[in-house]
């Protein structure tokens, strides 16, 4: 009898920027989870120095300009991390800042640069175009769904997931996906490779000192991401007692054994939206987009100088964006007590 094989009908030419290593990951997790009940509190400088490495694969939580770990992004930029491979599904402001700061080497693209309703920052778009054309930045093409399923595959401890989109699209050709004939139904399916990331950073509403984390609002890809990175840094609005976690375990979305570091950063998602706490800083975002209109890039450079390079830490940054008064306004905006 001839060997029965699953037929690969078509495959994309895109590169895989993260190694698919389920067995190695198992070994890693076996050891890592022994630290489940360690007090993981640290500061952002230490966490980034310890866990984000040049040339590593980074994936970040939140979505678009919602619940982004901006304190972490600022610190990555200040520490001048280089050659990062980036999971770039549903990325906006965080991606733009890292790209402009020269931290990015390769991307798995689902959605980049666009700020949805605010438009695309011109200077950053031009930079992306230049870097793609010159080959300075490697890019494989996906979409938000396939990127989410790639994270989910890794979180399931498997090397890929079959999905039902990407067929007939040019993105497929520039991805590392493969089209096969399903061994059960005979129909065509697309397989997307798992992303086992080196490090994931997620901003949450609250967690305890061990990293048991609770999140409100849309979860986007965070369940998959949090479980499939070798190192997970949680930045949190607030650290709460484990007893509080135990009162509502159904609210816990990331259990502590996935977590490596816990950093308390109140308002750590500003200028992005923290659902239930504070809304998008619309004026700040408009100012940022406007600064990216200057084709020479000077205005944008000034923006970065003022808010990132020129600040030592996130509390200093929060003063620059308008301090307590602004933060109070954003809380009121979130709770519909004031007009946009």
């Amino acid at each position: 009898m001839g060997k029965k094989v699953i037929e690969i009908l078509e495959e994309g030419s895109g590169e895989i920027f993260s190694k698919i290593t389920p067995n190695e990951f198992r070994e890693h997790m076996r050891e890592k989870v022994k630290n489940a009940w360690r007090d993981k509190r640290t500061d952002i400088k230490t966490a980034i120095r310890q866990f984000v490495h040049d040339g590593g694969y980074l994936t970040m939580g939140g979505v678009s300009f919602i619940r982004l770990s901006m304190a972490a992004v600022h610190e990555i930029i200040r520490q001048k991390k280089k050659n990062l491979n980036l999971a770039a599904g549903t990325r906006t402001y965080d991606f733009n800042l890292l790209l402009d700061a020269g931290c990015v080497k390769n991307i798995d693209c689902g959605y980049i640069t666009g700020m949805e309703i605010f438009g695309i920052p011109y200077v950053t778009r031009k930079r992306a175009e230049r870097m793609i054309t010159s080959g300075e930045m490697g890019i494989s093409e996906y979409d938000n769904a396939s990127m989410a399923f790639r994270h989910k595959a890794a979180a399931m401890g498997i090397p890929f997931l079959p999905i039902r989109n990407m067929m007939g699209a040019d993105g497929f050709k520039h991805s590392a996906a493969k089209k096969i004939r399903c061994p059960f139904t005979g129909e065509e399916l697309v397989l997307v490779p798992a992303i086992y990331a080196d490090v994931c950073i997620i901003h949450v509403h609250r967690c305890d000192i061990y990293g048991n984390s609770q999140i409100e609002g849309a979860l986007n890809e965070d369940l998959g991401k949090s479980k499939s990175a070798k190192r997970l840094v949680i930045t949190t609005e607030k650290i709460i007692d484990t007893e509080e976690i135990r009162l509502s375990p159904d609210r816990t979305l990331i259990p502590c054994f996935y977590v490596d570091a816990v950093v308390e950063v109140p308002h750590g998602a500003h200028p992005t939206n923290m659902p239930g706490m504070y809304y998008v800083d619309i004026d700040h975002m408009k100012g940022y987009i406007a600064s990216a209109r200057d084709p020479a890039g000077k205005d944008l450079e000034e923006y970065y100088q003022k808010y990132i390079y020129g600040t030592e830490n996130f509390s200093e940054y929060l003063k620059r964006i308008g301090g307590k008064k602004k933060l109070k306004y954003l809380e009121d905006l979130e709770h519909l007590r004031v007009r946009e």
Partner: protein, 262 residues
């Protein structure tokens, strides 16, 4: 209402909202799709289920969301979840409509939101698919909103981000996409269009107020089919404009952008 009493975003949102039937489950992209869905929800379709890819299911949007993940997309929702769950629902066949924009569309409803020019040497690099590819692949019917310009309604898109009928009847199925899916309506600032059953080519079925047939043909980059029963789309009513302006987007977050283009 006379033409000068509304802008093109208002017009497109209103025309699109009319096509949304009550009780539909509808996947929504940023911008005008949000306006249209929210308007329909506040008018004739209170029981639609708006779904946002980041994880919001059936919210009652208090103001217009700025993003497909912002807290307005989970406000008084029935559930919040993660993105895999949202697209698993679409794979299961739960999503009646996907509602999208794009930078280019061709006669088969293929959408481009990735690049102008070559992929590896783009003249313009747009954000890319976002949720679009999965919306257009998995939802039963895809609704497309785009400005009616020759550079947007093109003979051939530079890049198929989201497949429409690809190159004609049967192509989606041959590629392995779920059967029975595909583009359904196109809403522009000049016309209402659908896809002719046999050829799967885009067909003009309605002219928006004040627009002539010549105007549409002149601004379309490919040969349009024209329906035998071409109709004139009624202008926005006072009620539609009132709800759109007072309830849907009271701060004119998206609507104001239509002022510039009108």
């Amino acid at each position: 209402m006379k033409k000068k009493d509304y802008n093109i975003f208002e017009l497109m949102a209103i025309v699109a909202a009319r096509e949304i039937e009550d009780r539909a489950i509808i996947y929504i992209g940023t911008g005008i799709p949000m306006l249209a869905a929210s308007l329909a929800q506040n008018m004739h379709a209170p029981n639609i289920v708006p779904v946002f890819e980041a994880g919001g299911i059936a919210p009652q949007m208090p103001t217009l969301p700025l993003s497909v993940g912002c807290s307005r997309t989970t406000y008084r929702a029935i559930r919040t979840c993660d993105m895999p769950e949202i697209f698993e629902m679409a794979q299961l066949g739960i999503a009646h409509y996907g509602f999208l924009g794009g930078a280019q569309v061709d006669q088969y409803g293929n959408l481009n939101s990735t690049v102008k020019g070559e992929y590896n040497a783009p003249k313009v690099r747009w954000p890319g698919s976002g949720g679009a590819n999965a919306f257009g692949s998995l939802c039963w019917r895809t609704m497309i909103i785009i400005n009616h310009e020759k550079r947007r309604l093109v003979e051939k898109v530079d890049f198929i981000t989201t497949p429409g009928y690809i190159d004609g009847p049967g192509a989606r199925e041959r590629e392995g996409l779920p059967p029975g899916t595909g583009p359904y309506r196109v809403f522009t600032d000049k016309a209402l269009l659908d896809f002719e059953e046999k050829t799967k080519r885009m067909r003009l079925i309605g002219l928006l107020p004040g627009v002539t047939l010549e105007d549409v043909i002149e601004n379309t980059g490919f040969e349009l089919l024209i329906s035998d029963t071409l109709k004139k789309v009624p202008p926005p009513t006072r009620e539609e404009l009132k709800v759109l302006r007072e309830k849907v987007d009271p701060h004119r977050i998206v609507l104001s952008r239509g002022d510039k283009e009108t």
